[in-house]
């Protein structure tokens, strides 16, 4: 029998089920909070600042320590190492040191024999504060030029010449709100002291290496003394990239202090008060264009509400600037990013990582141009799209070589018939005075790779056992996005064994060191490649054993469908594994990958930060009640470029989920801080995330067919976690479209995001006022 046509079960490009499917459906899949705690484990609770800005005068723990069951109380002064868990810069404390900079900042922590005792005692830690005036808005911070890191600018061409050549010059302003991650599984960590000062931390984190580093800093021990581990998270969305570190760190500090395992799990309201969110942005522009809407000059300011420390802000802001072009060629452009410091939570990574805010800005500009010039938006867009072979260089000087913009827009039109759809919406509006419909499209181009080249590396560790089973570890973390199954598919495909033979190990810094966060949609690109590298090393060694056994050249050996062939002779994969061991050949390998081609100059903010772009397009139809501002999304059609999808079922789930999450950001999710800087939306009853009724009744997501990545990515797939979130900007644009139907042609709606009923109603009123004769 020669290598058969048979395919393995669960190779790449198949919709194989999530590796934990059965575990999730039977309740057997363990999350951090489900892991049986070691005997004697203490529970922890945090003492949070009630002030947005205050000096800490004194902390008295005596009443808390006297509470039954309390074992220890720690403050910044108890930290044996360095009180710093900053992911990018420095001086970002785990526990407030001398001053509190936002309401909800952790000031102290209590360990006790029960959760109830720890939480009750936390209320008894007496902290005396001297309140200081807080800065609570971007505008205020902008005026004070108070930033968490230096402002960032990207410029290209000659703005003055561009404006001079423009027939129209328009200025505008728009803002978008923050977004709470609301991972269903809150922040949680268990720290267990080991031998000779070692610390093991089980943490719900996207970035085990940062947890390891943070804990080591706080405890003043070498990185090698700390092992950080995570099997899975119940959602993360960026909220456990840097945010998880402080909770792991505080648990470890208490564990170090008490010499007992300590578990810290935040109650939901505290979780929402303590952790950073998506950055709200204030965006202002001055744009010049020709009579057809072609942009000749754009001067744009993007000011982020960063919170009290830098955290991920420099990277988020850079990505926002790098996406403020979206799909458009901007010949003369200046983009300036201001990382405003405010006395609020430390805003951080959230699916899209600044990209959504940048795109939101440019789409507001394009919408304004189209409405002012009374030209359909898609026509204005078409005038501005990046060309192929010309007009194809981004403001940061990367050439767009893989342009699929026209293609995704054409596919969208084919699937949705935009002209007929538009006609139906207009016909509805002509007859309906109160309910108004809106329709809008949205093209998306999103850059894949971390902006910082260093982070684009990954490791994996693969073992083959003598029965032919495979154990796979890699540096990526599983948060529901299906990374583990995708990487397992890669390994199964490489070895040509059924996916059932590949087991997945928890992510641990003890197995794969110095990892990057699982973020930037890059998880399968990076870890898939690293795992493939490891598998290929082992496969080559096994191939030599097989060649010797069959008396052929290694190049004559074929791995196919669980067997290994030399012409018409064959062995099972398991037999060859056993034979390799017998011949003293190593069946274990560490794999490594670094993304090629990328580079970035932090001084000029130019380079090629992205290995490639992904593309997508969406159209959304909404209805608004112009007397109440209530909004419904009635239909959404999406098309997303996934390259040659590793797992179409997983990718479709990501596309739908990201879109709905983006809808939430732009419509119903509103964070409300009061005048004292206290977050008032601290539970799902006041902070509304999309529910089952908010999904558009007609909702179709498609993967762009026949579009393998032209770059050499893992089996020519593309990243998918974040990009479809930005397709939801179509919903915001459609609401604007519905509002615009109330006014005269040429009027531009004034609508910020989230487009809550209140904002929509005010926009409707403003639009009606534009109608002459009122």
């Amino acid at each position: 029998m020669t290598a058969p046509l048979a395919r393995i079960d669960g190779g790449v490009n198949t919709s194989v089920r999530h590796d934990s499917a059965r575990g999730h459906l039977t309740g057997q899949a363990l999350y951090v909070d489900d892991v049986p705690a070691p005997a004697g484990t203490l529970d922890a609770a945090l003492v949070l600042s009630p002030h947005a800005h205050a000096r800490i005068v004194s902390i008295d723990s005596s009443r808390a320590l006297a509470y039954p069951g309390v074992v220890a109380v720690v403050t910044a002064d108890d930290i044996p190492g360095k009180n710093d868990i900053a992911p990018i810069r420095t001086d970002e404390p785990a526990l407030a040191q001398g001053v509190v900079l936002h309401e909800g900042q952790a000031v102290a922590a209590v360990a006790a024999t029960s959760v109830a005792a720890a939480r009750a005692a936390a209320k008894l830690v007496d902290v005396a504060y001297e309140p200081l005036p807080p800065v609570l808005s971007v505008e205020e911070a902008l005026a004070r030029e108070d930033y968490v890191c230096p402002p960032i600018a990207i410029t290209r061409g000659d703005l003055d010449a561009g404006f001079a050549a423009s027939a129209h010059r328009l200025t505008g302003e728009v803002s978008c709100g923050g977004q709470e991650h609301f991972y269903l599984e809150g922040q949680v960590a268990i720290a267990t002291p080991g031998d000779s000062g070692d610390m093991h931390v089980l943490s719900s984190t996207q970035h085990p290496t940062e947890v390891q580093r943070g804990v080591a800093h706080l405890l003043g021990v070498p990185f090698a003394a700390v092992t950080s581990e995570v099997r899975r998270m119940g959602g993360a969305f960026g909220g456990k990239e840097s945010q998880a570190t402080s909770f792991a760190g505080i648990a470890a500090l208490l564990a170090w202090k008490t010499k007992k395992p300590v578990k810290l799990r935040l109650p939901r309201d505290d979780d929402m008060r303590v952790t950073g969110k998506r950055h709200p942005f204030l965006i202002r522009w001055d744009v010049g264009c020709d009579p057809e809407g072609k942009i000749l000059a754009l001067d744009m300011i993007l000011a982020s509400e960063s919170g009290h420390v830098a955290d991920q802000t420099p990277a988020v802001l850079t990505r926002a600037l790098c996406h403020a072009d979206n799909c458009y060629w901007l010949p003369n452009v200046r983009l300036r990013g201001y990382p405003c410091r405010t006395n609020t939570v430390s805003n951080t990574a959230f699916r899209g990582f600044g990209g959504p805010q940048g795109m939101f800005g440019i789409e507001a500009v394009v919408d304004m141009i189209a409405r002012t010039l009374k030209i359909p938006t898609d026509m204005v867009r078409a005038k501005n799209y990046y060309g192929v072979g010309q007009n194809d260089v981004t403001p940061y000087l990367m050439r767009v070589e893989d342009n699929l913009i026209d293609r995704v827009m054409e596919e969208l039109d084919r699937a949705a018939d935009l002209k007929a759809w538009r006609a139906a919406v207009d016909a509805f509006n002509a007859k309906s005075p109160v309910l108004k419909k809106g329709l809008a499209t949205m093209p998306v181009k999103f850059g894949i790779s971390f902006n910082k080249p260093t982070l684009n590396q990954a490791g994996a560790l693969v073992h083959v056992y003598t029965d032919g089973s495979v154990l796979l570890s890699h540096g990526g973390t599983e948060m529901g996005q299906g990374l583990f199954i995708k990487v397992a598919q890669v390994v199964a495909e490489t070895f040509q064994v059924d996916i059932g033979h590949v087991r997945l190990a928890a992510t641990s810094t003890g197995k794969v060191p110095n990892t990057s966060p699982t973020a930037a949609s890059s998880g399968s690109d990076l870890n898939g490649m690293a795992a493939r590298d490891a598998a290929l090393q082992i496969k080559a060694r096994m191939g030599e054993v097989a060649a010797e056994h069959f008396g052929v050249e290694p190049s004559d050996i074929v791995f196919k469908a669980n067997r290994v062939y030399a012409g018409n002779r064959s062995l099972s994969f398991a037999e060859l594994a056993h034979m390799s061991w017998d011949k003293r050949v190593s069946l274990s390998a560490a794999g490594f990958y670094k993304t090629p081609k990328i580079h970035w100059d932090f001084a000029t903010n130019t380079g090629r930060p992205f290995f490639y772009f992904t593309y997508g397009a969406a159209a959304a139809e909404v209805a608004i009640d112009t007397l109440t501002g209530e909004t419904r999304v009635l239909r959404a059609e999406l098309i997303e470029d996934c390259g040659r999808s590793l797992n179409p079922a997983i990718d479709l789930g990501q596309i739908e989920g990201a879109f709905v999450q983006g809808m939430g950001w732009l419509t119903c999710e509103e964070l409300v801080w009061d005048e004292k800087g206290r977050l008032r939306t601290v539970g799902p009853s006041t902070y509304k995330i999309p529910g089952s009724r908010d999904v558009p009744p007609v909702f179709r997501a498609r993967i762009l067919e026949d579009a393998p990545n032209r770059e050499d990515t893992i089996f020519h797939s593309k990243a998918v976690g974040e990009p479809p979130l930005m397709l939801a900007i179509s919903v915001w644009l459609a609401i604007r479209d519905a509002v615009a139907s109330l006014g005269p042609k040429g009027a531009v709606p004034q609508l910020d995001a989230p487009a809550t009923p209140e904002r929509v109603l005010m926009a409707c009123e403003a639009m009606r006022a534009e109608e002459p004769g009122r």
Partner: protein
């Protein structure tokens, strides 16, 4: 969605105790009470703090960690279990006030490891991503069908609206419920 507890429950479990905590109150209320709880067909005897929610009794005392704590505020649905066949938010229900047999996600699979039709439907339709809301979604979905509230897509969305899914696997959850409904009615 119904809950077996009164509206005052979260106050007792949270704010009041937390705010007024003193060593004295704590000692007094920490006296464990005896209670019997039938979970997944087996009777359990427990001696627990009277304030313990059904969710904590299941998770912390009986090691049924399949039921998840998403908010502990009665607002997300992750902790949904069936009590006497009805959907209940176990975080809002005091263990001592639980009347009737409790079914959790662990109790759905038969002794032969056969999945409940709703579990199978969730697999068939990829009706989850991170899985954290999933046990609650499945228990709620079973309740939704047995209550006769799964007649149309709109009906399902309405009667499943108490179960949040931040991964937004909602469309697939609706499809899963539609698949499982006739099978549940046959079986």
């Amino acid at each position: 969605m119904t809950t077996a507890s009164s509206a005052a429950a979260p106050l007792v479990a949270g704010t009041l105790i937390a705010e007024q905590a003193s060593a004295q109150i704590a000692t007094r209320t920490h006296q464990p009470v005896d209670l019997k709880l039938e979970v997944n067909g087996r009777r359990h005897r427990l001696a627990i703090d009277v304030r313990t929610s059904l969710l904590d009794a299941l998770r912390e005392h009986l090691a049924f960690t399949g039921t998840k704590k998403g908010c502990d505020l009665g607002q997300c649905g992750a902790c949904t279990v069936l009590v006497g066949g009805r959907r209940v938010l176990s975080c809002l229900t005091l263990a001592v006030a639980t009347r009737g047999p409790v079914t959790t996600i662990e109790g759905l699979t038969g002794s032969d490891d056969r999945l409940h039709p709703m579990q199978q439907a969730f697999i068939d339709h990829d009706a989850f991503q991170c899985g954290y809301c999933t046990p609650g979604q499945i228990m709620s979905a079973i309740g939704c069908v047995t209550e006769g509230h799964a007649e149309s897509d709109a009906d399902i969305r309405e009667y499943m609206s108490g179960n949040l899914c931040r991964c937004a696997a909602y469309p697939n959850i609706v499809d899963a419920i539609k698949q499982a409904k006739p099978q549940m009615q046959e079986g």
